[in-house]
């Protein structure tokens, strides 16, 4: 289990590009030969399976109650890419008792076992499911845009996870930036606020520039990484993927009780 990278893609605010990042990151990593499981943790909203017209054969409840095969809950989009749709019964579990949550955690581990990497696309806000997934994850990717409301919501999420679950490791991804200077400037605003009020530093994972290709790809319902592999956004996601993979070998930057040393900037 130690090698398995469980990454939560989260944001506090909705509409900052969480799902888009999760999907494109998953496709990128799968194309590089890593076995990736994408978990749609977005409760009851846009369900990946509905969008893609996929059929869910069993849900997580069937696994817990009836002993159904856990692997039947996963839909494969390619040899390396599995999807666990929200409709597979995960969301409501977050509202269940601690014992049930533990059972679910076990099932998720079984489902995740054949994969190298698990990416969870959480919903927006600070609901119980969002916090639950983040608590489970080795890495929390926080997606923000330079918009002050997005920054405030991201800060609030970080504060809650820090205060309630003592999490102090966050990888920040800047989305919709005009260039690297703006990305770094926005990151440092968030980083300074966290340092000042919460007393730890954030990690900068990377930035995705505003790109017409993203808009076009969304309209065509395909990941921009497959439709426009040469676009600025695709290249940025590829760099993110590389950094994410390299992080895993560094114990200092994943959630652990060891003290952190240095921010990766």
């Amino acid at each position: 289990m130690a090698e398995l990278k469980f990454c939560c893609i989260t944001s506090g605010k909705g509409g900052v590009g969480k799902t888009s990042l999760a999907v494109n990151l998953a496709f990128t990593l799968a194309r590089q030969g890593h076995r990736v499981l994408l978990v749609d943790g977005d409760l009851g909203l846009a369900n990946v399976d509905v969008l893609l017209g996929l059929e869910v054969k069993a849900n997580v409840r069937d696994v817990l109650d009836l002993g159904a095969d856990p692997q039947a809950t996963v839909i494969y989009l390619g040899p390396n890419l599995g999807i666990l749709p929200a409709s597979s019964g995960v969301p409501e579990m977050a509202n269940l008792s601690p014992e049930d949550q533990q059972d679910l955690e076990e099932v998720l581990r079984v489902i995740a076992a054949p994969f190298d990497l698990v990416l969870v696309d959480t919903g927006a806000g600070l609901g119980p499911a969002v916090l639950w997934f983040n608590r489970l994850a080795h890495h929390s990717l926080v997606v923000v845009t330079p918009d002050p409301t997005a920054l405030t919501d991201a800060y609030a999420l970080i504060k809650v996870l820090f205060q309630q679950y003592q999490r102090r490791h966050f990888l920040v991804v800047l989305n919709h930036v005009q260039g690297e200077p703006e990305a770094l400037q926005t990151f440092s605003a968030l980083d300074r606020a966290v340092k000042r009020f919460l007393g730890f530093t954030l990690n900068y994972l990377g930035a995705i520039p505003t790109d017409q290709a993203v808009k076009l790809a969304v309209r065509n319902q395909v990941p921009f990484i497959t439709r426009f592999p040469q676009s600025k956004a695709s290249q940025a996601v590829e760099r993110l993927a590389t950094r994410l993979l390299n992080l895993g070998s560094d114990p200092q930057v994943s959630h652990s009780r060891k003290p952190r040393v240095q921010a990766v900037t």
Partner: protein, 233 residues
């Protein structure tokens, strides 16, 4: 169904007009088939096909009028055991009695359906979540009480309930809506059955507790407040 229109007259004022007789017969047959196509033969409730049609209409009404539509999904607990122990004819009798209890405890405007097997659906037009919850709780109690008399060898027959409300704020198909209520039904099953589950009125979000200073962090603050010289713009 709306009442029959008054009998049309024969344009040639013929008595015993065969064309008119045939017309009336077809009209009657048409009504009978229409009724048949939307009814579940065992329980006399509406069937699944009509559930989807009616839900589509009520959801459109919600979108236009803003009046919420509530959906209750209920499923009898351990029904397979009853069928296995007492036989299917007995099980059918139980389903008919449940249908009867449902029908006699809802309003005239509500639409009771058999969703399939031992699962039922109730569409409650113009009904808020809290009202739907109250009805579900009442029905749960009624069903629980219905089989407690000594002559019923089955012991209590109970049901689990999932309730959800459509407020028209999001785009949702009838199937999605059923699926959402069904999820709460699954939660009710998971919580030990014979219970009602529904979305919480105010989702239990933890207190974030941002100070007013934290709240203003990322906005351009007026120069007088910016004592440290840092700007978080």
């Amino acid at each position: 169904m709306p009442p029959l229109r008054p009998k049309p007259a024969c344009p040639w004022e013929k008595d015993n007009c065969p064309v008119l007789a045939e017309l009336l017969r077809l009209q009657k047959e048409c009504r009978r088939l229409k009724e048949l196509s939307r009814t579940d033969p065992l329980t006399g409730l509406y069937n699944r096909r009509y559930l989807l049609t009616a839900l589509e209409q009520e959801m459109e009404r919600t979108r236009r009028t803003g009046l919420p539509t509530t959906l209750i999904m209920l499923d009898l607990d351990h029904f397979k055991k009853i069928n296995d122990t007492f036989g299917h004819p007995f099980g059918d009798g139980v389903l008919r009695r449940v249908a009867c209890l449902l029908k006699s405890n809802i309003r005239k405007i509500d639409i009771p359906c058999r969703y399939g097997g031992e699962e039922f659906a109730l569409i409650l037009p113009g009904t808020r979540l809290s009202q739907g919850r109250r009805l579900a709780l009442r029905l749960r109690g009624i069903l629980e009480q219905a089989w407690t008399e000594a002559r019923h060898k089955t012991g209590p027959i109970t049901a689990s309930f999932g309730v959800d409300t459509y407020t028209g704020r999001e785009a949702l198909t009838p199937e999605d809506f059923i699926h959402r209520a069904d999820r709460w039904l699954l939660v009710a099953k998971a919580r030990g059955r014979n219970t009602v589950c529904l979305p919480e009125a105010s989702p239990s979000q933890p207190e974030v507790g941002l100070s007013s200073e934290e709240r203003r962090l990322f906005y351009l603050s007026p120069p007088s407040c910016d004592k440290t010289g840092e700007s978080y713009g």
